[in-house]
Symmetry: C2
Subunit: 303 residues, 2 copies
């Protein structure tokens, strides 16, 4: 099974004297390819060579040029790239929110590679590479808080973000960290929302969010188990998590005029957890004045 | 105007010898109230006294008991709390994703307060306090990466998160940091989605996401200006950002069977930015095989 995230016993900053050594460590298995991954599972690791003309390296922010196009006749990399192989693997990592290990070839030390930690694919797009052909590009951002001393090749570090970006007012509150159990629940429902059936389809695959019914962490201490997880579209996630609706044991929704809980044979929801969430929902909706039951997409509002 | 986020010239870790000094610094203006904020703008700051029976302090994770109920007859805090005043301000901060400054009373030094940085309201719920009355509780998590030396009162630091939570598989990729321009756009549309009209209503207010049409940051360098921002529901945000649909100059949507761009008098969208996003959308959908136009909620999928 492909391993995403940290490899036990290998911390960011570890250096390797060859691709073979890097491969043996488990950080990046392929000894030649820059992208390690599959079209269905996603990409678990990339190597930034430092000399690739379509990369831009700012240390904790990286613009990575994906797999180049391959002309099947001439067997040369002189065609437009397509959304397949390594490129699709990185798009799947974007859709699933999977962490990608990043290793850099160190320009100052020949054949030396350094593992630099976990990054997220923040965005992808298609561009013309310096060769003139279509190329997939991926913006990756480091997700742990350990800074990188220097990027590959001791490049100077220009500011990665737009200065305007620094006038931050607010943040998305729902930073979801999914576990294997959450991924399994999404797969069981093919990423369709369990309460409204919406399926968010994007190039490269579908997108859903996993909601823990009885919340994780103190003081609720809900378990990270499939029977405590719902596969929801982002809208229903925001509503369910923000006490705008709850679910009865029979699957009917409270606080919403339509929709009901969809279950499948290989994923049943624990009614005790539904009851726990329902109690919190009811308490949250007492005392909230004129709007005891928040509406759930029932009153489309037009300007 | 109420200031959210950092106060210039005051770094986390700064100590103050009284509430008056803390107030004068701008970190926490009220000299008595624990919550600084308003019911419409949200809460910008809280003070954790350290002695409050309904608080649980884990340093970078904090469970904060909101404003207690106030009996108007006896003028004593011996009634159920309601979703108003400071409690509503903190719920609004949750809905808007606003950062909250946290200061702690230091148990070891009488009348000393320390500013400990920015936190986000990760969740709120209603509980019975130790007094037996309804109390609003808020889970806040530190959002910068500077660790806190010791929590108030030199309490030992138990692990704040569930150990199961550590088996993280994936992360939400869209960590949105909103600016004042983004908040203004959401207000202009009363948090209704500009492409599908959905309005996510939750106790305490509505929720929307701000999408930059021409993306921020390298290499796109879109401006953080209202005419480059759309107010979208979370579903349309995930689709727009993931190249599942684009918008024509006349407001029609490409890649979606229904919906069109809604504009209001005080918020017009720059057509050049729409064209930039459209080019990226078109490039992203060439070469993605059998599914050139990803569907947008058009094919509800049922198990």
């Amino acid at each position: 099974m492909r391993q995403f995230g940290e490899i036990e016993g290998c911390v960011a900053g570890t250096e390797f004297s060859s691709r073979a050594e890097l491969s043996a460590s488990g950080i990046h298995r392929p000894t030649q390819a820059g992208i390690s991954g599959s079209e269905t599972e996603g990409a678990d690791s990339i190597v930034v060579s430092g000399g690739y003309e379509d990369d831009e390296d700012y240390g904790d922010y990286l613009i990575y040029g994906g797999q180049a196009g391959f002309d099947p006749n001439t067997r040369q990399q002189n065609d437009d790239a397509e959304l397949n192989r390594g490129n699709l693997a990185l798009v799947v990592s974007y859709n699933k929110g999977l962490p990608v290990r990043v290793s850099r070839g160190l320009g100052s030390k020949q054949h030396t590679y350094r593992y630099d930690g976990l990054y997220l694919v923040e965005r992808w797009w298609v561009d013309r590479g310096k060769s003139g052909y279509r190329i997939y590009r991926f913006a990756l951002r480091k997700i742990d808080d350990k800074p990188i001393s220097t990027p590959a090749g001791e490049l100077p570090l220009p500011p990665a973000s737009d200065p305007e970006r620094d006038r931050i007012q607010s943040y998305t509150t729902h930073i979801v960290r999914d576990t294997l159990a959450a991924e399994a629940v999404k797969e069981a429902h093919q990423h369709a929302c369990q309460t409204c059936s919406t399926r968010i389809e994007r190039p490269g695959g579908a997108y859903a969010q996993a909601a823990h019914i009885r919340p994780l962490g103190r003081p609720h201490n809900g378990p990270d188990a499939a029977d405590n997880i719902l596969c929801l579209c982002p809208n229903c996630y925001a509503l369910f998590d923000g006490w705008a609706f709850a679910i009865e044991d029979d699957g009917n929704l409270i606080g919403a005029l339509h929709g009901c809980l969809h279950e499948v044979e290989n994923h049943t929801v624990n009614r005790e957890h539904l009851a726990y969430h329902r109690r919190l929902y009811e308490e949250a909706n007492i005392g909230s004045g004129e709007n005891p039951h928040a509406s759930r997409q029932d009153t489309p509002h037009r300007q």
